[in-house]
């Protein structure tokens, strides 16, 4: 049975005073309802003042501006005295795996699926929700040469968006071990080339361009090597980590790969921001990710620090939403509040890229997943 509590905007007198924010009540995804807000952030470039998001069967039906508001009359309504945006996307994470994300004895395990390790009830998913992150890629670790297949899923409701989102490969020092072949970069490249020259299974899918790759690299020489490898085998997908990829921005652009950056801790060097801006200047698709054990809040923090380092705010917001959606090929489902997308909404006390703004409510697929208490 549907119960909808409509709470008045006037009750929320002070923006940014979360303790005074009452919890929006449960909404099921059968409902058609409206969420009104002072500002609706449809995507990085589009803000609707005094807008209303109409949700129908778990999808965004439309976003109304102040003049069209009357169309929402009569619908059950959540009034929010703040901002509403699409849920954020972590384009790489290890949430819910408890670190059970590699096969230490074997360097090449392309058929391994991280989905088999994911505990959907792990508290990390709830933490991600509270941080406004509604979609995550969970990936095998970078400690295998070919670690296996990542999965794209929602942080609530056990919704799997893409069961084999990427093939994760790591032509990097992270995959080299002293007691297992390969121990060296040349050995690693010889092994990877052998895999992709006579590809089988998931590697064959990646080699044919059907399965994107997520290439884990950190230093610039690894980035250069990875770009060459990707271009040789005509792979599509993204570099992961690679904070200094912007120092090879022209080559990254040429490769057609996206870059999944972060997480950045406080104190990251200005050189990294120069790199991020250089990638942005080349229009390389950018997204951000989380490491094993990093708090989901760090996703937004990483991007905010890049904005402080000179990244355009519109683009910065897209790197948290529409860019990763496009990198995953899920732009019709997540990443924006355009009509037809999943109703993954985050209710904010203020502008999402201001660190003082708090998440006050989260809907995933039109269902209220988190209520606002912290």
């Amino acid at each position: 049975m549907l119960t909808l509590l409509v709470f008045a905007g006037t009750a929320l007198s002070a923006v940014g005073a979360p303790s005074s924010a009452p919890a929006p009540a449960l909404v099921t995804n059968d409902a058609t309802f409206a969420v009104s807000a002072k500002r609706v952030l449809v995507d990085g470039k589009t803000v609707v003042e005094d807008g209303v998001v109409i949700v129908e069967r778990g999808k965004v039906r439309e976003v109304l501006d102040a003049k069209q508001k009357a169309k929402a009359d009569g619908l059950p309504r959540v009034e929010h005295d703040g901002w509403v945006s699409a849920g954020m996307i972590a384009a790489r994470s290890h949430l819910g795996t408890r670190g059970d994300f590699d096969e230490p004895k074997r360097p090449v395990t392309p058929e391994a699926r991280i989905l088999d390790s994911v505990d959907f009830d792990h508290p990390e998913f709830a933490a991600a929700l509270r941080a406004g992150v509604t979609t995550v890629v969970v990936a095998p670790s970078a400690s295998s040469l070919i670690g296996g297949q990542s999965v794209a899923l929602k942080t609530h409701g056990r919704v799997i968006l893409d069961a084999d989102a990427h093939l994760v490969i790591a032509p990097a020092a992270s995959a080299l071990r002293i007691n297992r072949e390969p121990t060296s970069f040349p050995g690693a490249m010889a092994m990877l080339n052998a895999q992709f020259e006579k590809p089988q299974g998931a590697v064959a899918h990646a080699a044919a361009g059907k399965l994107p790759v997520l290439i884990e690299v950190s230093q610039r020489d690894e980035i250069a090597r990875a770009l060459e490898f990707a271009m040789t085998h005509k792979l599509r997908g993204a570099l992961s980590h690679a904070p200094l990829a912007g120092e090879l921005a022209a080559q990254v652009k040429k490769s057609g790969l996206a870059v999944v950056l972060g997480p950045f801790a406080v104190g990251v060097t200005p050189r990294v921001f120069d790199s991020v801006r250089a990638l942005a200047a080349e229009s390389v698709p950018l997204a951000f990710g989380l490491d094993f054990g990093s708090p989901p809040e760090q996703l937004r923090l990483s991007v905010v620090m890049c904005v402080r380092g000179g990244l355009a705010p519109e683009l910065a917001w897209n790197t948290l939403t529409s860019h990763p959606a496009a990198i995953l090929g899920l732009q019709e489902r997540v990443g924006t509040l355009r009509a037809g997308c999943d109703a993954d909404l985050v209710l904010w006390s203020g502008p999402p890229l201001e660190l003082t703004s708090r998440v006050q409510g989260v809907f995933v697929g039109g269902v209220q997943a988190w209520g606002g208490q912290e």
Binding site: L41, G44, K45, T46, V47, V48, E49, V63, L64, D65, A66, K67, Q68, A173, L176, I178, N179, R180, E181, P182, T183, S184, F185, P186, G187, A188, M189, A190, Q219, R220, D221, A224, R225, L227, E228, E247, L248, Q251, D274, R277, A278, A280, A281, V304, V307, R308, G309, G310, A312, P313, E314, A316, W317, P351, P352, L353, E354
Partner: protein, 420 residues
Amino acid sequence: MSVKHCCSIVLAALVVAPSALALVAQKKSDDRRSWTITAERVYTAEGEAIANGEVVVEGGKIRAVGKGGGGDLKVFAVTPGLVELSMRIDQGFYSVEQSNEVTPQIRALASVDIFDEAWTRAVRGGVTTAMVNVPDRNVVGGLSVVLKTAGDPQPAARVVKADAVLYGAIGSAPSSMNHPAQPRPEDFYSRRPTTRMGVEWEWRKSLFEAAAARVDPKRAKHGDAELQRALDGQLPLMIQAWASQDIRTAVFLVEEARREGWGNPTLIVDAAAEAWREPQLLVRSKASVVLPPFSALGRTRDQAFFALDTASKLDALGVPFALSGHNADALEGRLCYQPGYAMRGGLSFASALAAVTLTPARLVGVDKRVGSIKAGKDADLVLWNGEPFQPSSKVVGVLVDGRLIVDPRPAANAPSTSNK
């Protein structure tokens, strides 16, 4: 629908990317690849020096060399860019595949870190072409690559010659991590060889098996193709051997291969500090030599003593030799200082110049492109403020493929020269 650009998402103002703009500006000036260099002495490494000469560089290549004056860049002397055959810029254990002692198919190119500071150091010291070898922890390490020391940030774009030599080592280094498997194997260092004898045995076994695989396909295994090319003499076999007993082993290896009819390998002995002890062996086996950097009191590795007159002795016997500076971590270890030491040991200027330019280029088969100042070759040049290799002279300018990597003009390097 009222749509607004959301400049209000954050309060922070958008900062124009200053460094990105700077990078673009830098790129444009770097693109100049045509110069005329005037010098009181032009040492071409192709014969007599030209007094009051000029080198005309166009589009990254040398167009003309001859008498002349009034160029863009005026210096005291010009030499070809230096060629280093034992550039030890590597990533330690990440550059050598330790899962096997014999890895002929491994490519050094795959571990090159083009961003290593040592490359800048090398090019500032006049090295414009360098061969990177697999570090000496394996018996047969793998395939070396010859690269330019400056230019495109993609290693593949800098390659002058891929798979230039098959590199390996004799001596204490290849077995130094290994230990016996007692009571049982603990890791893959529980293996042979653990001694010099074992290293020699691995070499002989590798060459024998590669030869045997030619007649019996059932014996074929990974890496045979590279060893067979080395046996055929198509791929020079470059073996690090500091001490005289190790140089002897290297010579005996290729002589055994010839005697047994496995092929006719071309031997280059790298880091041959004790080449002076039994140079007749090198003459007999038609081996070439790469000498290590000269060191204080002649002390090197593997207890080998490196005499100052080694280069002049080899020169007198007609053994082709190159000088090397390795990774030049110490200023006096740089390749541009090595000819000076060799000349102090009795070597002529012309031979000393050849030993850092044309000879190393010939040894690895890149002399069509680099190694001397000749019309049509790559414009890799070193500009000097005095007679090259004299202690009071220094490298003031470097061109790689016509790009001015180190600028000799006073205005360009005023802040840095004041410190030196």
